[in-house]
Symmetry: C2
Subunit: 193 residues, 2 copies
DNA sequence: AAAATTAAACAGAACGGTCTAATTATTTTA
DNA sequence: TAAAATAATTAGACCGTTCTGTTTAATTTT
């Protein structure tokens, strides 16, 4: 009949807590408190804080990948308009969230990407998954003559991706969306054929 | 005749340690050990870890601002070529450093920018200082007809700034310069008149 | 009954920060 | 100018708390 707790619940709490507070600023006790499970149960499910964080990144990354895929599959606009609306939505979400956390995976990359190979590898793997989806949409836009063909679709996907996280990070201290909107306007102007 | 230690030495150690390891992953003891001073002396100079970090950010930010100003003042190329060479140099430095730390201020923004108003404010202040210099070079490039005048110089400066830190962050997990070079190529193509 | 899970007490190390004493530098006084 | 008084700095033991992780026993599920 299943046990009292399950990994997924704890992973979801971990996602939220890590996203808002970072990795080293969060202790296991905080996760336990917010998910309401005792320490013994946590260490029954996870080997360590690091192992837990890896699974948090993986779960969120894969869910987000599915969500992105569905978004673009369902989007009835032209490829470039799909990309525009996708990033407009991301900017909107970030504003709604009061610029409170940004992206878990990007935060992890910056905070621990150079000192923790395991978390770096997992983060990169999830990013690559997202980038492939972006690249396929870019490719469609190129095939339809909307997006510049000066650069290949993966380069353009990485360009969108990095630019977005650059301005997203910037909002953590400016705490307004001005430069995100500017980025959106400029970027889609630049890459449009 | 002066005392044994001085703040500047400790701040420089703090810069290096924070840049490579982040904020919450570093304890005061590590700073003490690496700078060779006892705890009593540290707390004689600084009120708290937070106060120390703020002064580290401020000192580095201001030094870097001077350095940037001098770089662009001394650069004998056209404005756009100065910007190109500046970012090419930054990419080169990051590779030489084996992608080991990135930029202290950007790291601080991402790690603590949403939870620590004091460090967020200081980080933003330093960024604004740098951005003003970039914007002034962009403006010169616009006046000389090399850089697009579709967007004002501050928007373009923020665009360069955010894009660069976006790809810089990306290298923390890819650990190679491919997309930094791609970013450089694409960005300067896009903003060139 | 056996296996898996839950519960919470328990470790040892590390955390940021305090405290008092000793030392060094500076200013005041003789 | 030398001695005395004061101020600033150095030193590190120490404080309570929190950190990740372990252990042992009770409970639940199979």
């Amino acid at each position: 009949m299943g046990y009292k707790y399950n990994k997924e619940e704890i992973l979801d709490v971990g996602y939220d807590v890590f996203r808002r507070n970072g990795y080293h600023n969060v202790g296991i006790n905080q996760i336990l408190k917010e998910s309401g499970i005792p320490k013994g149960s946590f260490y029954n499910f996870f080997d360590s804080k690091e192992d837990f964080a890896q699974q948090v990144i993986k779960r969120y990354g894969e869910n987000n990948q599915c969500w992105m895929q569905k978004y673009f599959d369902d989007c009835e606009l032209s490829p470039i308009e799909c990309l525009k609306s996708f990033y407009a939505m991301m900017i909107h979400y970030n504003e709604e969230d009061n610029y409170a956390g940004g992206c878990l995976v990007n935060n992890m990359c910056v905070e621990v990407g150079r000192n923790n190979d395991m978390l770096a590898k997992e983060s990169n793997q999830q990013f690559v998954g997202w980038l492939q989806i972006l690249a396929s949409v870019v490719k469609k836009g190129q095939d339809q003559g909307q997006i510049t063909t000066q650069y290949n679709s993966l380069w353009l996907a990485e360009y969108l991706h990095a630019g977005f996280y650059g301005v997203l990070s910037r909002t953590k201290v400016t705490r307004n969306r001005e430069y995100m909107d500017a980025w959106h306007t400029m970027t889609f102007n630049f890459i449009t054929q």
